[in-house]
């Protein structure tokens, strides 16, 4: 089991008021799986994603990633997990605006201490993997939304992590670009990458093999036969 979350609770403190956001989340993902998490806005999807991505800690609960007890790790070790085991993709791409596509993709490699020449080669290979080998020198402003997201995916995958976490990866894209991203995810998953994708679009979620729903911080798994009626 690559991801194992047990009884995860997350509360936010807001002016002496405790707001529960995640309530008793249990989520297990096997290596190589493709899982979607659906839910309306404000239901706690991003909060859960941040916990899975080792950026945030739950108020209570247990979390094992590749068998490691994440909640016991120190700040420095968590950086290492994010660097080597997890790739992040966001709705708004988060590319460095003044760096070329290649430089953006190479960024995690510099934190991994990879030498300059190798950084370039590996970043270029990652760009080729998402079909943007020819756009390596382009600046983010010279790329379309779909292309930007593909650069972001190349950046997430450049260190060959086992897990790809995507928070509404198609949320800012038109349906054609969105479909391209879904194709890419499909291919990465076939290559063995475990994918956890957040979305509130049922069509997008349908690309995944398993779908979870979060409503008001509570999670439930959808059985494939069941017809989903949530269109938010």
């Amino acid at each position: 089991m690559i991801l194992d979350l047990k009884h995860i609770f997350k509360d936010y403190q807001q002016d002496k008021l405790v707001v529960p956001v995640l309530k008793d989340i249990n989520l297990q993902v096997e290596e190589g799986e493709y899982v979607a998490i659906m839910g309306p806005s404000g239901s706690g999807k991003t909060t859960l994603m941040n916990i899975i991505g080792c950026l945030d800690k739950p108020t209570t609960g247990e979390f094992y990633l590749e068998g490691n007890d994440i909640l016991k790790l120190k700040d420095r070790e968590l950086s290492g997990v994010r660097l080597n085991s997890i790739g992040f993709v966001f709705q708004s791409f988060h590319l460095m605006p003044r760096e070329s596509a290649l430089e953006n993709v190479a960024l995690p490699l510099s934190y991994a201490g990879v030498k300059k020449k190798e950084r370039k080669e590996r970043a270029l290979r990652a760009l080729e993997r998402v079909g943007l080998g020819e756009r390596a020198t382009f600046m983010p402003t010279q790329l379309s939304g779909g292309q930007k997201q593909r650069v972001a995916i190349a950046r997430a995958m450049v260190n060959n992590p086992k897990i790809l976490l995507a928070d509404e990866p198609t949320g800012a894209l038109d349906s054609k670009s969105g479909a391209q991203i879904m194709e890419l995810f499909q291919r990465l998953n076939e290559e063995g990458v475990t994918i956890v994708m957040i979305t509130h679009d049922a069509n997008i979620a349908n690309h995944a093999k398993r779908i979870y729903h979060i409503i008001d911080g509570e999670i439930s798994e959808e059985t494939r036969e069941e017809e989903h009626h949530e269109e938010v």
Partner: protein, 416 residues
């Protein structure tokens, strides 16, 4: 690291105006320091050159009464002042780093004439045979004194260019007869310092220092001194030493040796070396202490500049919250973020330092053009300035960098 420096330059370049304004405090502070240091250095070098001279490395030892050179009255040499004989001269020659020793007599005399032209305020110098070689003089025209001139009491004189000009005003002096206290002396030659030395006169003090030197001197063999002057003059000693830095010690040692022979009742009468190096140092210290205050003020402006850098960096951290959050999400450690921002601050202030040095050099050149003050650019000061600017960047970049490194990545990513 190199990657961080590259990114820093990129960031600075993309915010040219803001970066420049941020650096301005540092630029002004460093420019002021460089300008001040350059003028201090220029002035000091000039003071040393003016006072110590062209490096002929000679020290005069004369008899003083209190703070003034002993003035001959009608009573002559005070009782108990010894005749400086060959034995004492040998003793003086044994002082470490002393190359040559000569004796001379000197008196300011208003009664030196060529026809009706007077050498007013000039000095008559009775010198021993090797005086000119000790003091690095060369015979410019005519001939020098010979052994015979001394043994046979020839009334012959050598002039320096100042007295030649004052008495003869361009006329050829060689072979002409001048009068010293009504005694006729034949001019046989012109002597001058071997090394040409043009004093630079900037102040009244400088002027007085040179006024004395430039009134002209008339040299006669010391054996003929009694023909002109009834009273013996106390003997003066001139030591030639190896290097300028030996002047102070050799002068002190020489004066001590001579004082050991003194048996005068008046305690204030003492041999003393004219310590030009000490004098130069004192004047230098004076100019340095006034200017060190200016340096403090410039230093404060540097600190103000540093605070400005800190301020802008704090703003920049807030602006770049998203960037920091993303970097943390993709695996950057706290130390990576800290390093990035510290490098940025250090690059920014170092650049400011470099611009400051250039501005300061320009400023110093302008000062020297406008005020005629000499300037000398100090390379160590320039290097130290840039290094110091870098340290300011690191120190004042610390707080913003820590803030960036400790930013909560979730908060940072939420801001969309």
């Amino acid at each position: 690291m190199l990657e961080n420096i590259r990114l820093s330059f990129k960031g600075i370049w993309s915010h040219k105006m803001r970066s420049f304004l941020t650096m301005l405090g540092i630029i002004i502070g460093i420019a002021a320091i460089i300008a001040i240091v350059s003028t201090i250095k220029g002035t000091n070098e000039q003071i040393k050159e003016n006072i110590v001279g062209s490096g002929d490395n000679t020290v005069d030892i004369a008899l003083y009464q209190g703070d003034w050179m002993y003035e001959m009255g009608y009573e002559g040499i005070p009782a108990g002042v010894p005749v400086i004989n060959d034995d004492i001269v040998e003793e003086l020659k044994d002082i470490p780093n002393v190359k040559n020793v000569s004796l001379y007599l000197s008196r300011q005399d208003y009664a030196v004439y060529y026809l009706n032209t007077a050498l007013s305020g000039g000095y008559v110098m009775g010198v021993d045979e090797n005086y000119f070689s000790t003091c690095n003089f060369i015979i410019q025209k005519g001939r020098g004194f010979t052994k015979e001139d001394y043994t046979k009491y020839h009334k012959v004189a050598l002039l320096d260019p100042d007295s030649e000009e004052a008495l003869f005003q361009g006329e050829d002096a060689i072979g002409k007869t001048i009068e010293i206290k009504s005694e006729p002396y034949i001019v046989i030659g012109i002597v001058d310092k071997a090394q040409e030395f043009e004093p630079v006169i900037n102040s009244l003090e400088d002027y007085y220092t040179y006024a004395e030197d430039s009134t002209g001197k008339v040299y006669i063999p010391d054996s003929t001194w009694p023909i002109v002057y009834q009273f013996d003059e106390p003997q003066n000693v001139v030591l030639q030493v190896e290097s300028t830095d030996d002047m102070t010690n050799a002068g002190k040692d020489g004066a001590a040796i001579l004082n050991a022979y003194l048996q005068v009742s008046d305690e204030t009468i003492k041999y003393r070396a004219e310590d030009l190096l000490e004098q130069a140092k004192k004047i230098q210290q004076l100019s340095e202490s006034t200017n060190s205050m200016l340096i403090w003020i410039a230093g404060i402006s540097l600190i103000v500049g540093g605070i400005g850098v800190m301020n802008i960096m704090l703003v920049s951290v807030t602006e770049r919250t998203q960037e920091i959050g993303l970097k943390k999400a993709i695996g950057a450690r706290k130390s990576n973020i800290l390093g990035q921002f510290l490098t940025e601050a250090a690059v920014l202030t170092s650049l400011g330092g470099i611009f400051g040095v250039l501005t300061g050099i320009g400023l110093a050149e302008i000062i020297s053009k406008v005020t005629d003050m000499p300037v000398a650019i100090s390379v160590p000061a320039a290097v130290a300035s840039v290094a110091f600017s870098m340290i300011i960047g690191v120190v004042f970049g610390m707080l913003p960098s820590y803030k960036a490194a400790n930013l909560d990545p979730i908060e940072a990513l939420r801001r969309e």
